[in-house]
Symmetry: C2
Subunit: 331 residues, 2 copies
């Protein structure tokens, strides 16, 4: 296994300890429940926003904890939903009179954990809002999902809701805002390689030396088809077309464009993809107001990338431009 790892069972907590040690003034860690949260937060000041899905997608979501982004994260093990009690303890820790919002991607395990935690918290009088992201246009239903999967578009929901929460938005306003992001964001990804969860010790799927998986999920779920690897430009044309048609985006739209690396693809290649994606936006009359090139939601060391488009309005533009402080670069 070509990984820097000690005991695979301690992969997640050791990663989180490293993150805390690198940010001793900004982040705190509750090891018992694997919860990371903002050191400077007073939950009474705002509606705290939390997330907890499987690990292995870093920087999502533990490195998105910080002012103007997430207030806490309670991740599970690699590609595994958090235990219900982790999610429940996270909601309790973030308990605020203004309520707490959780944002998760659309996977059955994550949704179930947080829905149960929400019920438990509500039974104690905690007001909990829920927000589910399903931006992946590749397939309807999937290995771990009914409906569409949630992938890198989640970043935009966190960024927008995080900024709005800092400005005093209510829980109801944040849920509506998160839904607006989800209604206007679309993604699709391509994998060139598989990846190896530390505890499994072998790749989660097999793929030929000359093959790619078109529309891959971030846990290696099958996409639309297996195909021979094509040129970078041809690949972007296909995923751009799928994303563009789906909303559909229209000439004159102002958009945010993200090229997200899946973990094993160097940033040089991401900029080659960005080049073609930006050309296609221009050719289709889309005005790229903000762009994001880098790793936001990965699949361990998978070689691959995804393209995300978000249709903007004035409110979203202002929220994306608002300052934020976390280990991910958010501009």
């Amino acid at each position: 296994m070509k990984k820097f790892v000690n005991d695979p069972a301690s992969f997640v907590p050791e990663m989180m300890e490293g993150l805390i040690m690198a940010n001793p003034d900004k982040l705190k860690y509750v090891k018992e429940f694997n919860i990371i949260y903002r050191a400077d937060l007073n939950p009474a000041d705002k509606v705290p926003i939390v997330q907890g899905s499987g690990s292995g997608h870093e920087p999502a979501h533990i490195m998105a904890v910080g002012k103007g982004m997430l207030d806490a994260a309670a991740p599970g093990n690699v590609f595994a939903a958090p235990p219900v009690d982790f999610a429940y303890e996270c909601l309790k820790l973030m308990n605020s009179e203004k309520g707490v919002l959780y944002i998760v991607n659309n996977y059955q395990g994550d949704k179930m954990a947080w829905e149960m935690a929400k019920e438990m918290a509500e039974a104690e009088g905690i007001k909990v809002g829920a927000m589910v992201i399903d931006d992946d246009v590749a397939v309807q239903d999937s290995t771990h999902t009914f409906g569409r999967r949630g992938v890198a578009g989640n970043f935009f929901a966190i960024k927008a809701c995080g900024a709005a929460s800092e400005s005093g938005a209510t829980l109801e306003e944040l849920v509506a805002l998160g839904n607006k992001v989800n209604d206007n964001v679309r993604s699709m990804g391509i994998a060139l390689t598989s990846c190896t969860p530390p505890a499994k010790g072998e790749p989660i799927f097999q793929i030929g030396e000359d093959e790619m998986e078109v529309g891959v999920g971030i846990h290696g779920e099958p996409g639309r088809r297996r195909d021979k690897i094509r040129s970078a430009d041809e690949i972007v044309e296909e995923i751009f077309d799928a994303v563009h048609k789906d909303l559909p985006f229209q000439s004159g739209d102002r958009v945010a464009l993200m090229i997200n690396g899946l973990g094993g693809t160097p940033i040089s290649e991401l900029y080659i993809l960005y080049r073609k994606a930006a050309q296609l936006c221009e050719a289709n009359g889309l005005n790229v107001v903000r762009n994001y090139v880098g790793e936001y939601c990965t699949s361990l060391e998978m070689a691959g990338a995804s393209l995300t488009l978000l249709k903007l309005d004035q409110e979203l533009e202002e929220l994306l431009a608002a300052p934020a402080e976390c280990p991910i670069r958010v501009f």
Copy 2:
């Protein structure tokens, strides 16, 4: 070849075009000489700082172009020094009455290109300062190097000199500052996999499924030895020890600690390495004042990482803390 690429011959210019398209207000590109430079720069205002080495190490160095960092970069093809005329045109473009400083890592090809360009520019009355980084403690002399290689420690020279230049430092002061950084910075890396330059189409070296290269160079140059992969903590112990002893760092030193990914290693693993490195700093009495976990100087999609320690004084601490704006996250 598991890469997003069109024609391998256009890998570098397409990557640079993508970077320019993502930063249209901040960066400009001279395609003929493959020079990227700050759109907002008036070379008369300061001593411009430039760099040009082989590509394939992104974000180094083209994504380090921006206010408070590099003013221009003239990279060569993947793992190849820039042609002399690219370096020469870069010096001419950045020509300032205050002089121009170039910073390169210690590889024969890069040094030769910039020394020749310096002579040509000086013959036209341009004042040129030179700064060579050789922070890699792994080996003395190497495939492309007499003496030690330069690796991720280069980032600290760029950051310090970039900040000092913005504050009005002279060319002579910047050369002295860069040398101070180089005198106080030490690095060493480990590779778990090889990498594949697009034009070559096959890995630059072979390595077994259970092997690692201890002290690898950023072009795949051999290190100290080939060994069986060990645990993350054991790996960090070895490279920390090599780096720590070399200066030597001493109890009470204030340091910057960098864990740099070589391109194919996900950030989750880098934080696992950071955890142990920070523990070893504490155990050895080193006070980690600033830390950097991410990709700074890579080798395409190589799985691997390097550890860099920089001994700080008040001047360096202030320069590292100074604001900077470029596509790399610099804090």
